[in-house]
Amino acid sequence: MGDTVIVVGAGLAGIQVSHQLADLGLRVHLVEKEATVGGLSAHLGKVFPTDDCALCLDACEELFSGHHRRCQYRSLLGTQKKLSLHTLTEVRSIKHEGDKFSVSLKTTPRYVLLDRCVVCLECINVCDVEVPDELNLGRVLRRAVYRPIPQGVPLAPIIDMNSCTKCSKCVDVCKVDAIDLEQKCKTRTIKADAVVLATGVEESSPSVLPGYAYGHCEDVLTQRELGRLLDSAGPSNGKALTASGRQVGSVTMILCAGSRDLNAVEYCSRACCTYSLKHAIMLREQGVDVTICYMDLRVPTHSQSFLERARESDVTFVRGKPDHVVVREGSPVTIVEDTESQKRLEIESDLVVLASPLVPHAAEREVFNSFLDKYGFAARHNALKGIYACGTSTGANDIPGSVAEANSVALEVYMALKGGA
């Protein structure tokens, strides 16, 4: 048996499985479609259950012996011998050949050369083009050459060709010749002995639930968007502001906004209750009133303290799933029947925040179709031997669950390739 593994998706699960496999001596190619690694974690700021950075990961042992929990920028991901990181890269096809897989990859240009860029940021300073930064709710501007996330790995900027005018100012200012505006797509094929899907999830767009006024009212957000506002490196330096820039005084959260719903997403997204509580606590610290409308509070054992803290900090809990959100004088009003008092409530607030379902990324790509169930999730081991999955690509989950699953899949892959299975 050979020892080459392709891991698709460099979220926390993909990184974890890659580091473990590389430490065990296997050859790993980590393929990420975005310009930087981290997946969801790169957007989250602080996370439960430890109330510290989402960007934290177990770095490889080759470079850091002993305790090696490190920030992504300190992990030197991809510089160790056994691990190659391919960003802006997608899997085009997976062909089964004997007991190997022939995986074809396509890399789109970054226009900034990773082996040349020293991350001086001068190109960003000289770029004249300014466009809304989609990652930060469009509330701040970014340049055409930009860093999607300041501490995102690789640290080098990327050029957004849709807005770039090819004025070449950045090329001129970059004395190390790290910019190539004519860079082309590259394809390559790798023969692998195993493929691990770690393609993760994303928040589904709430516009499929028209009742909640998302898209009609700018002050109806998703939890991920609220998370950006509350991140101290985010668009408002951690302050909860309305779309018009006013300090928020009250927030209503709607849990299961599309999850556990036969008309939308049938399953429970598992992490949303707890991250909603996390955000509620952060809002209370800013003096914001918070009401949470919920069906069941599903808080894993390791994070019960978040529920206690939310209760202690006087978050109001309403048991009931809101029917709809109406917009009155520009502000969202949540209509909900409290199933305990059986009263119909109309809750006015500055912001309404929806816990949108977490839906699988893999479902968007045809190449993975044959490995997915009806929801678009993959099994930990596929019926086809040699195809594995971990993290949220196997079902919505939180970070501890995703990381633990990544470790166990690493062991399975190792045993399958190196004996023991």
Binding site: L76, C174, S232, A233, N407, L411, G420
Partner: protein, 654 residues
Amino acid sequence: MKKLFLCTCNGTLNKLLDFTRIGKEAKAIYDVVEVADNLCLEEGLAELEKGLSGDDRLVIGACSSQIIGVPMKQRIKNDLVAFVPLREQVGWVHLEEGESATNKAIVLLSDAAVQLDYMESQAEFTENMVGRVLVIGGGIAGLKAASDLHRLGVEVTLLEPFKLDKHHYLQTSVFMSDADTLRSEIQEIQKTILDVERIRGEIREVRGQLGSYEVTINGAKDGSMTQEFGAIIIASGNQQSLPSSAKKMRYGKSERVVTLDSLISNSKKKRAKDRSTILVAVDFDAPMSSVEGSHLLRTTRDLAARGNTIIVVYSDIQTEDENLYREARDSGVIFIRGRVTRIKENDKGLSCRIENTLESMQRDVIADRVAIPRLIGPTIETTQIAEKLGVECDDSGFIRTRYSKMKPVQTSRRGIFVAGGAKMPMSLSDAMASAQNAVLEAFKIVRSPLVRSGWIPVIDDEECDVCKACLDACPNDALRLMDDRIVHIPAHCEFCGICVSACPTRAIEFQSHSKESWFARFEAIAATHKRLEGKKPFSLVFACSECANASIDQAGFVGKQYGTGSYVIQFPCAGMVSPIEILKGLVVGANRVIVAHCPPGGCHHQTGDHLSELVVSLTRDMLREIGQNPDRVRATYMMAAMPDKMQKEVPVRG
């Protein structure tokens, strides 16, 4: 020779910082000063390599050591190197203050020069690991762990409880999955461990540390035996017990009040007559885990399918499988939110009063039976095992893991892991995954020798009172008592320096970070600051090399500006800081000393966050007592997710 290599970072840093002045100042303290434009690129590294000879001591003034450190060390052989992060911690955070920023750079470079004077080479230490792993079984995860280790070719001993009958694993795991899956899984694994050494008994004593735990076991048959293990996996499972509310539900007083599990047990006697009304009273105050929830749903679904009327009175239903919830409802289970407050027995059955949480609404339900779901808790054995092994438990008696987000099986002691239900209630698939996690960690330990390199603490036997404070404080079992002396075992050391601050007589000094070195560095900083900035106040920030330093780097990455009179000094861990360094900082003239550590519970060395808070509060007390302002000393946590922390601690003006 002492050499300084500065980098302009593609010709950008020299726009803000006056490199000519920096170079001139540096020439007074360094033998050689070189300036490059791209030290981290191939051509820069090659240039650097050319300019060095083997015994040079070197300061790199460039980007964060976190970024340039490893590539640099892979390239050059010199091991006496200090880094000054001129980019992240000067250039990018003092954009408006070119002159002061230049001064700050000079101060930091003078500090680095002194640092080199005290720097020693790092030695490498190796220790062989015992190849055998002990799995303390009793739960299904233990079977899985033993099986996987065996298949990996690792020698393994599976220790099982004295009382272990044929049905043990099935009975203790009923709540984990549906019975058929569970049964077949157990049968499968049992087949794979036929060759594994299995003994019945209990742990009497454990000595040693990671790589060579010496375990004495009281066996059932052959008395006691002692054996060495490289790693230990605790997989002693959990147990079900009645909630404290059971009594109030008349459990034990009325025959009609039973446990939920007894209703599905196969014994005819206990089994409820079909078509009866069963009220399931979930303990309102105990948080339900999703395993307990799923088990509740499976059971009530099956009971309802047999034609019973099932009413579940509950607070929140947890489950990892939404379909179970639907199936239960579809088969007729009625869910009522609230708590059962009173049960009265009459000839018709049990009259149960249900109150919803708002207390305003009540209703009475007549039931033939009241069923109480049992709760999952740790076994007494688990708590005892933890005590013998010296690992921490949480408040309810489950084994505590080191860092809940990312270290799923690591206990508070290195080389000891927890798998399955001994950590918390787990579903079958989670328990299996957790066993695999533990196997992976144990495997990585026993398969190769432990190799560490770093600066180590050195113990002065003359000064040492053998009070054992350091030994208790060391999070890694790297200090031991041998022949009435404290002995340091470097291969186990994580180089945190916690032992240094723990020692009441300062009999321990860290290589390269001795008291003298700190004093000399602070004095250099203060003197240079005074020369360049006159009376302008300054702060010293004692930052741990992990989260706190990362937060300060991140301030640079996102451009959070802060005041220039702020000198960051990296400590391996904030737990190394003692009142001596803090007071010295004040004595040399710092206006404030800030000790920055990892977020609560997030210390990479387990206890440094907590210890540094203690040290600071002690120092503040001392200051108060001598009539000084205690607010000149502060402890705080910092992390990469809070790049604004430096800004809050060191405002731009002030």
